[in-house]
Amino acid sequence: MYTLGCMFVKPQFHRMSSLFREANAVPISGLVVTFRSSVTEHVETVELLRDIPEIVIGDSVGSKLAIVVDSETQRRDQEIWNTVQHLPGVIDLAVAMVVFDENDPNRK
């Protein structure tokens, strides 16, 4: 990434005010998994989802299944996202809601 820091007279950009907190927090996300056919035909994949401890399985209707992912680290969150996308029968993964500032050190 480009940086102008080396060229500064005053290193203004290194100061972190309360508005400058990095957007690298761990999200809680509500996701909708879409399967190629009815969720009931993908029991094994649903079991694989259930085996991931950070995932809570919600309701399903037709080919859609609601899940919530709550992970400890961003890396883990990304891993889960990638894993779910590539599970057998999964054709789409969409986000309904995300809360992404949980590790904000300034939060009470």
């Binding site: 950009f13 957007a23 927090a25 909708v32 309701d59 054709i91 969409a94 809601m97 809360v99 904000d104």
Partner: protein
């Protein structure tokens, strides 16, 4: 976060996901307040709507704000575009505000250093340079300008300075779509809307990868399939992509093959007598390019002449030109010949970044018109845009070198007169000479003044030409060492463009300011400022107004209207001027509302009617033309030119192209002969290079590269290469190679059988990575009408890094 709050938010997330699941097959559009009602209600947490900051799909999000900071993002269930869903980029959009290296103070280059200066100093420096040489000043923006921002720059440049050197980077991404629409219908922008994706039986993606670039739109189609509906997806492209993976048919073509394929379909429709005679007879003319000096108007040709010209494009000849088997061309011809199915064509950069961009856009419209697959839900030729307001700000406000707001052009005296009247300016204020288009503008800026380079000061807002221009060494890096050239860049983060800036202005971003966007389906969207920008970052629109006022103070006559008032004067209820050029007073009023209400006056000439600002506050966007009903309500239009929905179509016409360039209510079916690409592989440069985007990053990555999860998912650009090509060159997976063209080089790791799979002899490189500038290699050859460069094909060679010859 305490565990109680966390568990509350987890259940809120489950409610949000669960409600999407339960909303079932049709994902119904909800009333505005219902969407908000289901989001978590916590003390101090407030929710408000905004369109996503990224692509032209225009999904709406709900933005959760707590203690002056964006803390949550949810898909907006009340939004018709995305019905509550978001893609991976939209899901992270809140984080774009909080990268560690936000620009927060104006910075002036002094030799090799930047020094902090005050805003007053920065505005004065800019105003002085413009005052001294107003005609050698250029403004470069983008489809990321909000509608009021773009309108303010238009008024400042064309009305105030009498200078038409304003162009957007949308010139690089959708200018050929504009010229295609103008040539065909006499007026810009799609007739249909996203509902076409819900109703088509066949979806044809022409050089387009919506699975990655417009994922929420594409999921409307995959969603239908998952519910058991049959939608045939036909992917026509030069490489296999994620869209190909979902496609029923893949037609892999040679570069420029799309032109031949469109001509081949028209040939078959005529030859097999399966074209829609009644539609063509009632609603179409035939047109060809003039032999001497081709224009967008073209010349009328008879149906007989059209038949003669199209006769040679037999499936076999098209196979020769395009590389697509004749049988597959026949399959397309048969599909278009059927009346009982609905066909939607989608395209974006593949057809636009093309030296025959206007031609291929016109030809695909022609295929739909000739076959009558037009104007009914599901039957539509539809172009998509890459930027959130390429339509709203660039095409409608007209922030292009030749254009004026509301579909007007600077070369028409009556159009200049309209604008001068709306703006209360002296007659003759607006120049009749079109300004420089993007490539010319940067050529003139990077050419020494003594050699005729007559752009000396350039202001860049909301875009990153140091990464996106083609042939960067010539068009951007040439600025180095030219001491009398002055580059001003308003940005949120350091970029390739700020590297050469003389003055950097820290900008407010997305919900740090009020805004309005216009998406790919003519939908105008509005949002309010929700959080403060960091440090001294300020609104781009304020910058324009502050510079204009400084010029007004300096006595520049163009900054006064006919009555001697400041051209951006805003008065309070008592008639007292509000000093909006002072940032501390900028939000004393809603400047966006004032500018939009002024802009709205321009919108009726081309029947792109807009509703009052407050209607957009209530809605999740409205598709123009928006027309007031007898009961006082405002009604949007989903299908233009179709009597069942468009209020401007005369009764009994069924279809009417009321801005027809032949003035008879008809659209034009064009003939354009196939021509080869401007540069083709040869002995020295034996491979094709195609460039483009990836799912995780948005355009030059300035925003998405600062989002750790997205950056980790796609940390670097790469070159996609066919396994056989790699084997023949003894190149291993992941090995660093150098791509060389006649214009420059770029070093990249190789990805064999990666996400996209190019055929033998073709390479693909995404352009999001500022450490690997593939536009050093691309070509600045452009379409003759749209002036849009071709980023999709040029000749290159691949050299193993260990074998690169170091110049002695």
């Amino acid at each position: 976060m305490d565990s109680e709050r966390r568990s509350f938010l987890k259940s809120a997330a489950m409610v949000a996901a669960g409600s999407m699941v339960h909303s079932g097959a049709s994902l119904p559009v909800l009333q505005a307040d219902q969407g908000v009602g289901e989001l978590p209600v916590l003390d101090g947490l407030s929710w408000n709507k905004a369109p996503c900051r990224f692509c032209g799909t225009g999904c709406h999000v709900q933005v959760g704000v707590e203690n002056g900071r964006v803390v949550a993002i949810a898909g907006d269930k009340a939004a018709d575009v995305n019905k509550g869903l978001l893609c991976v980029k939209g899901y992270h959009v809140g984080g774009i505000l909080y990268g560690k290296d936000r620009l927060t103070r104006p910075l002036l280059r002094q030799q090799d250093k930047f020094v902090e200066i005050s805003w007053d100093e920065a505005i004065t420096i800019i105003a002085q340079r413009i005052f001294e040489s107003p005609k050698t000043f250029a403004f470069y923006g983008s489809g990321q300008w909000t509608i009021p921002e773009g309108f303010a720059v238009q008024k400042f440049m064309k009305g105030g300075l009498g200078n038409n050197h304003i162009d957007p980077n949308a010139r690089l991404c959708m200018a050929s779509a504009v010229t295609g629409f103008l040539a065909t219908y006499g007026v810009d922008e799609p007739a249909g809307c996203y509902q076409d994706l819900d109703e088509c039986d066949v979806l044809i993606t022409w050089g387009n990868n919506p699975a990655e670039m417009h994922p929420v739109l594409f999921s409307r189609v995959t969603d239908r399939r998952s519910r058991g509906e049959t939608v045939r997806i036909i992917d026509i492209g030069t490489r296999r992509t994620r869209t190909t993976d979902a496609a029923t048919d893949n037609l892999e073509m040679k570069p420029h093959g799309d032109v031949a394929i469109a001509l081949g379909i028209m040939h078959l429709l005529i030859q097999n007598n399966t074209y829609d005679k009644s539609f063509v007879e009632k609603h179409c003319n035939f047109r060809g390019a003039e032999a001497d000096k081709p224009t967008l108007q073209g010349e009328a040709i008879s149906e007989e002449e059209f038949r003669k010209r199209i006769a040679k494009y037999t499936p076999e000849y098209v196979e020769e030109l395009s590389g697509v088997a004749a049988a597959k061309i026949r399959m397309l011809g048969e599909l278009f010949g059927k009346r009982d199915i609905r066909i939607t064509s989608l395209w974006c950069m593949g057809m636009n970044q093309h030296t025959m961009g206007t031609a291929i856009n016109s030809l695909v419209h022609g295929v739909h018109l000739l076959s009558g697959h037009f104007g009914r839900p599901g039957d539509a030729p539809t172009s998509l845009t890459g930027q959130p307001s390429a339509c709203g700000t660039v095409r409608e406000v007209g922030t292009l070198a030749h254009a004026l707001p509301g579909g007007r052009v600077v070369t028409k005296p009556e159009h200049r007169q309209h604008c001068e009247e709306f703006w209360n300016l002296r007659a003759g204020s607006i120049s009749e000479v079109p300004g420089y288009h993007t490539v010319q503008m940067f050529e003139q800026f990077t050419k020494p003044t003594a050699e005729g380079g007559d752009i000396t000061t350039m202001f860049v807002q909301v875009t990153n030409p140091g990464q996106t221009l083609p042939n960067l060494n010539a068009l951007f890096n040439g600025k180095k060492g030219l001491d009398d050239k002055f580059l001003i860049v308003s940005e949120v983060y350091p970029t390739a463009t700020t590297q050469l800036a003389d003055l950097i202005l820290p900008a407010a971003l997305w919900v740090e300011k009020n805004g309005m966007f216009g998406n790919s389906e003519r939908r105008t969207q509005q949002w309010f400022k929700m959080v403060s920008p960091p440090g001294e970052a300020r609104d781009d629109c304020w910058m324009t107004i502050a510079i204009a006022h400084k010029l007004f103070e300096m006595g520049h006559q163009g900054m006064k209207d006919k009555d001697g008032n400041f051209i951006f004067s805003v008065k309070d209820a008592d008639g007292k001027e509000i000093p909006i050029w002072q940032f501390e007073h900028y939000y004393d009023t809603n400047v966006d509302r004032h500018l939009f209400e002024e802009y709205r006056l321009f919108s009726t000439m081309k029947h792109k009617n807009l509703a009052p600002y407050d209607e957009y506050v209530k809605a999740r966007g409205l598709r123009w033309p928006v027309v007031q009903q007898n009961d006082g309500s405002w009604r949007e239009t989903r299908y233009r030119f179709s009597e069942f929905d468009d209020p401007f179509v005369s009764k009994g016409q069924e279809f009417e192209f009321y801005h027809s360039s032949s003035n008879d209510g008809r659209a034009q079916i064009w003939f354009h002969d196939y021509a080869p690409p401007p540069e083709v592989p040869d002995e020295d440069y034996p491979m094709w290079l195609c460039t483009g985007r990836v799912l995780e990053h948005w355009h030059t990555g300035t925003l998405t590269r600062r989002l750790a999860p997205l950056n980790r998912a796609m940390p670097t650009a790469y070159v996609e290469m066919h396994a056989e090509d790699a084997k023949a060159a003894n190149i291993r997976q992941g090995e660093k190679v150098v791509i060389e063209s006649r214009r420059g080089t770029c070093e990249l790791p190789v990805w064999i059988d990666g996400r996209g799979r190019p055929p033998r002899g073709t390479l693909f490189v995404p352009f999001f990575d500022e450490t690997k500038l593939i536009n050093n290699c691309t070509l600045d050859a452009h379409d003759p009408f749209s002036k849009q460069p071709d980023y999709k094909k040029c000749a290159v060679r691949v050299v193993k890094k260990s074998e690169v010859k170091v110049p002695s």
